[in-house]
C-alpha cells in the first residue's frame, strides 16, 4: 500500500473524510505512520542494510551514525580483505586476556566490541588501513517521501501501520478502551511479522534412539 492508501484507511476507520479530513491533519497522520514504522522496526527487527567502511589506519573506534544514519545495531561485521567474520567480544573480555590492548595495532582486526549505542570498536586496529569492512546492520526505515511511496515491509505488515494510526487517533480522542484494543492487536501481529521476515533458527539437537527395556529385568 502507498502512504496515501494507508492514510485513507486510517481516516475511514475514524469516520473522517480521506480526501478532506476534518478532525486530523494530513501531516499528523503521516507522522503517525512514520512512528508506526519505527516501532515495527524496533520490535520486528526486519529492516537490514549493508554498508562498506574503509579501514582507517590506527583506528579502533568507528562511529555508527557516520556509517549508516538510520543504524539501530550491527549484527555482522565481515572483513572483506581476509574473508573473515569478526567475532563479538567486549572490552572487559579483552582486558582479561590482554594488557594494554588499546595500544596494539595489527595486520587485520579479529574482534569487534561495543563502545556506545553509536560506536563500536575493532581489535586490533590496522596499522596500514587497507581494505574495507562490511557492516550488516539493523536499521530504522527511512521516512516515506510522498504519498506514492510505499513502506519497505511486506504488504501484510502494512495493516499494522493502519492499526497503529487508528490507535493513536483514538488516544487523541481519549477513547482509551478502544485504543488499547487496537494496540493489543498491533502488538499481536509482531510475532507474525518476525516469522515472515526471517527463517526460523534451526536448533541443533542430539538425536538418540529411545532405549528399550531390557528383557532380562522382567
Amino acid at each position: 500500500m502507498t502512504r496515501q492508501e494507508i492514510r485513507d484507511r486510517i481516516l475511514i476507520a475514524l469516520n473522517d473524510s480521506p480526501t478532506v479530513p476534518i478532525y486530523f491533519a494530513t501531516s499528523e497522520i503521516n507522522a503517525v505512520i512514520q512512528e508506526a514504522q519505527e516501532i515495527v522496526a524496533e520490535e520486528v527487527r526486519a529492516w537490514k542494510r549493508t554498508v562498506y567502511v574503509p579501514k582507517r589506519e590506527g583506528w579502533q573506534v568507528y562511529n555508527l551514525l557516520a556509517i549508516e544514519p538510520n543504524c539501530m545495531a550491527p549484527f555482522r561485521i565481515w572483513d572483506h580483505t581476509t574473508n573473515r567474520r569478526l567475532q563479538v567480544t567486549s572490552m572487559h573480555q579483552i582486558d582479561l586476556d590482554r594488557q594494554r590492548w588499546l595500544t596494539v595495532t595489527g595486520s587485520q582486526p579479529d574482534w569487534w566490541y561495543p563502545v556506545s549505542w553509536g560506536q563500536f570498536g575493532v581489535y586490533p586496529a590496522t596499522a596500514s588501513g587497507e581494505g574495507v569492512l562490511r557492516v550488516d546492520c539493523l536499521v530504522w526505515p527511512t521516512a516515506l517521501l510522498d504519498d506514492a511511496d510505499e513502506p519497505e515491509s511486506p504488504e501484510p505488515d502494512h495493516d499494522d501501520l493502519v492499526l497503529y494510526g487508528v490507535y493513536m487517533s483514538l488516544m487523541q480522542q481519549f477513547e482509551v478502551m478502544r485504543a488499547t484494543e487496537r494496540f493489543v492487536r498491533f502488538t499481536d501481529r509482531w510475532t507474525d511479522s518476525r516469522y515472515r521476515n526471517e527463517l526460523q533458527r534451526i536448533q541443533a539437537r542430539y538425536h538418540q534412539r529411545r532405549g528399550r527395556r531390557d528383557a532380562y529385568r522382567e
Binding site: 507522522a31 512512528e35 519505527e38 522496526a41 524496533e42 527487527r45 582507517r56 589506519e57 590506527g58 583506528w59 579502533q60 573506534v61 555508527l64 539501530m72 545495531a73 550491527p74 555482522r76 561485521i77 567475532q87 563479538v88 572490552m91 572487559h92 582486558d95 594488557q99 594494554r100 590492548w101 588499546l102 595500544t103 595495532t105 569487534w112 561495543p114 563502545v115 556506545s116 549505542w117 553509536g118 563500536f120 586496529a125 596499522a127 596500514s128 588501513g129 546492520c137 539493523l138 530504522w140 488516544m171 487523541q172 481519549f174 482509551v176 485504543a179 488499547t180 533458527r201 536448533q203 541443533a204 539437537r205 542430539y206 538418540q208 529411545r210 532405549g211 528399550r212 527395556r213 531390557d214
Partner: protein, 448 residues
C-alpha cells in the same frame, strides 16, 4: 530530527490542549527534560571515553563544605581534615590533636592541589581522588596508561593492614572512595605530574593554529595552491572587497615589512632590502622568492602548502585521535586535547548536563527514532498531574509506552546484541538405556 518544540506541539495535540489552557509549555518542557535525563540514566546506553590527567586536578580547593555552593559548575575538592566538632578545618592532622588539647605528633605533608604531590614526594595523608565530569552517570571501565584497573573494595585492601592508601607506584586498582558523588579513587599514588597537551599563547583566542611537540605533525589540506600573490596589505584589502573582487582563492604575500616602517609604506621582497632599509651594514644573501606554490620545485623558499580552515581530523598509523563530543555549546571547534598515555582513561555512561534542553534544541544524545519515548513520558506526567486534566487511565497507558524506551536504549547501548553466537547444545548424559541390537526371534535365549 524534530526539535523539542515540535515534540511539545505533538504532546499538546494529544492532550487536546493546543491553547495551553491546562498545561503550559514550560511545564511540558520540564517533563521533557526529566524524560531525557531518565532515559539516559536508566539505560546507560550513551557512553564515551574521557581522559583524566594525573595527578587529579580540581578547579577549586575548598576549606568548608558550604563553599561548594560557589563552584560555578567547576570541580572542587576539600583537601582539609575535619575534626570532631566540625567547626574548624585543619590543614595538618597534628592540628586536630592540638585543637583537642593533646600533644601533637608529626604528620605528612599537606597539599591543596593535586599537582603539589610532585613536591611532597607523594607522601600525604589525603586520598588520591579524581573528580568525574558533571554529566557522569556510571563507570564502565578505567585504564591507566591503557592498562585496566581492577575495581576493588576498601575492605579488601584494609585486610592488608598496611598504609595502602599512601603507597606510591603504578596505579593498578580503583575504589569508589569516601569522596563526594562523582569521584573515584585510584591507587597506587602517582605523584609525577603529567602534562599531555597545553594551550600556548592563550591570549590569542579562537582556533588552534599549529600542533607541536615530541611527535611529528604534518598538516595536509585539499587546497594546496594559492590563487594569487600580493605585496602590500592594501592589495589584500582591495582584493577582498566584494564589489571589486577580481581574484579568488588564497593569496600569498611575498614581501615583508622592515622595522620600523612608519606609515607602512615600505615592503621588501628580498631580505637584504629589509636589512638595507633598517640600516644594516652587512647584508644577507637572498633566497629564491616565488609567487606560486609550484615554484618550490625551482628553489623558491617562501611558497608553502596552506593549512586552511579548521582542524577536521588527526590521523596516525600508531594511534587513533578520537573526537569526543562535549554535548554542549559552543559546538564546532576543538576545545580540549587530552592524551591517554600515562593518564587515566575512563569509559563512562553519561547523562545530559546543564543547561537543559530549550525548545529550539534537539535531544542529540539519543537516536532520533527514540524521541517518541520522551513524548510518552511527557504525556504520562501531564495526565498524571492532580487537578483538571487528571486521567489515570491515560497516564497508565503512556507510562507503559514510555517504559519500553529505557529498555530499548539499554539494549542499543550494547550495539553487539544483534550478533549472537550460536552454539550446538552439548550432548549431555543420556537418560535412556543403550539400544541393543535385536536378535532374530528364533535365536536361542541365553540365561546368565
Amino acid at each position: 530530527m524534530p526539535t523539542v518544540s515540535n515534540d511539545l506541539d505533538t504532546c499538546l495535540r494529544l492532550l487536546r490542549d493546543s491553547g495551553t489552557v491546562l498545561w503550559t509549555r514550560a511545564e511540558l518542557l520540564q517533563h521533557y527534560n526529566d524524560a531525557y535525563r531518565q532515559l539516559l540514566a536508566q539505560s546507560h546506553g550513551v557512553r564515551q571515553f574521557t581522559v583524566l590527567p594525573m595527578p587529579p586536578r580540581h578547579a577549586y580547593t575548598l576549606c568548608y563544605p558550604w563553599e561548594r555552593r560557589y563552584l560555578q559548575g567547576g570541580t572542587g575538592r576539600q583537601w582539609l581534615f575535619t575534626p570532631q566538632n566540625g567547626g574548624k578545618q585543619c590543614t595538618y592532622l597534628w592540628e586536630i590533636e592540638q585543637a583537642a588539647g593533646f600533644e601533637s605528633t608529626n604528620q605528612y605533608t599537606a597539599v591543596t592541589h593535586g599537582w603539589e604531590l610532585a613536591y611532597a614526594s607523594g607522601a600525604v595523608d589525603q586520598d588520591y581522588r579524581f573528580a568525574l565530569p558533571k554529566n557522569h552517570e556510571r563507570i564502565k571501565g578505567i585504564w591507566f596508561d591503557h592498562k585496566y584497573l581492577t575495581p576493588l573494595n576498601t575492605r579488601e585492601m584494609d585486610t592488608l593492614e598496611t598504609a595502602w592508601n599512601r603507597s606510591q607506584g603504578e596505579p593498578w586498582f580503583t575504589i569508589p572512595g569516601m569522596g563526594d558523588t562523582r569521584s573515584v579513587e585510584v591507587y597506587q599514588i602517582r605523584a609525577e605530574y603529567t602534562a599531555d597537551y597545553a594551550l600556548l599563547n592563550a591570549a590569542f583566542y579562537g582556533l588552534p593554529r599549529t600542533l607541536s611537540g615530541a611527535r611529528d605533525w604534518n598538516a595536509t589540506t585539499s587546497q594546496q595552491e594559492n590563487g594569487f600573490a600580493y605585496t602590500t596589505q592594501g592589495e589584500s584589502l582591495h582584493i577582498q572587497w566584494r564589489s571589486h573582487r577580481v581574484l579568488s582563492g588564497f593569496g600569498l604575500r611575498i614581501t615583508s615589512d622592515p622595522t620600523p616602517n612608519p606609515g607602512g609604506q615600505y615592503q621588501s621582497i628580498h631580505v637584504w632590502e629589509r636589512e638595507r632599509h633598517e640600516g644594516a651594514t652587512s647584508l644577507s644573501d637572498s633566497t629564491t622568492i616565488g609567487t606560486y606554490w609550484w615554484e618550490a620545485d625551482y628553489g623558491a623558499t617562501n611558497t608553502r602548502e596552506y593549512s586552511t580552515g579548521i582542524l577536521r581530523e588527526i590521523t596516525s598509523p600508531d594511534r587513533q585521535y578520537l573526537p569526543v563530543n562535549t554535548w554542549e555549546a559552543p559546538f564546532g571547534l576543538i576545545r580540549d586535547f587530552r592524551s591517554s598515555v600515562q593518564n587515566l582513561l575512563l569509559h563512562e555512561a553519561i547523562v545530559p548536563d546543564v543547561p537543559t534542553l530549550a525548545e529550539e534544541d534537539t535531544p542529540a544524545m539519543i537516536p532520533a527514532p527514540l524521541q517518541k519515548y520522551l513524548r510518552y513520558y511527557v504525556l504520562y506526567c501531564a495526565f498524571n498531574r492532580q487537578g483538571e486534566g487528571y486521567r489515570p487511565d491515560l497516564a497508565g497507558h503512556w507510562l507503559k509506552r514510555w517504559e519500553r524506551g529505557p529498555q530499548l536504549l539499554r539494549k542499543l547501548g550494547d550495539c553487539t546484541w544483534a550478533d549472537t553466537t550460536h552454539q550446538r547444545q552439548p550432548a549431555g548424559k543420556s537418560r535412556h538405556m543403550v539400544w541393543d541390537a535385536p536378535l532374530p526371534a528364533e535365536y536361542g535365549r541365553v540365561r546368565v
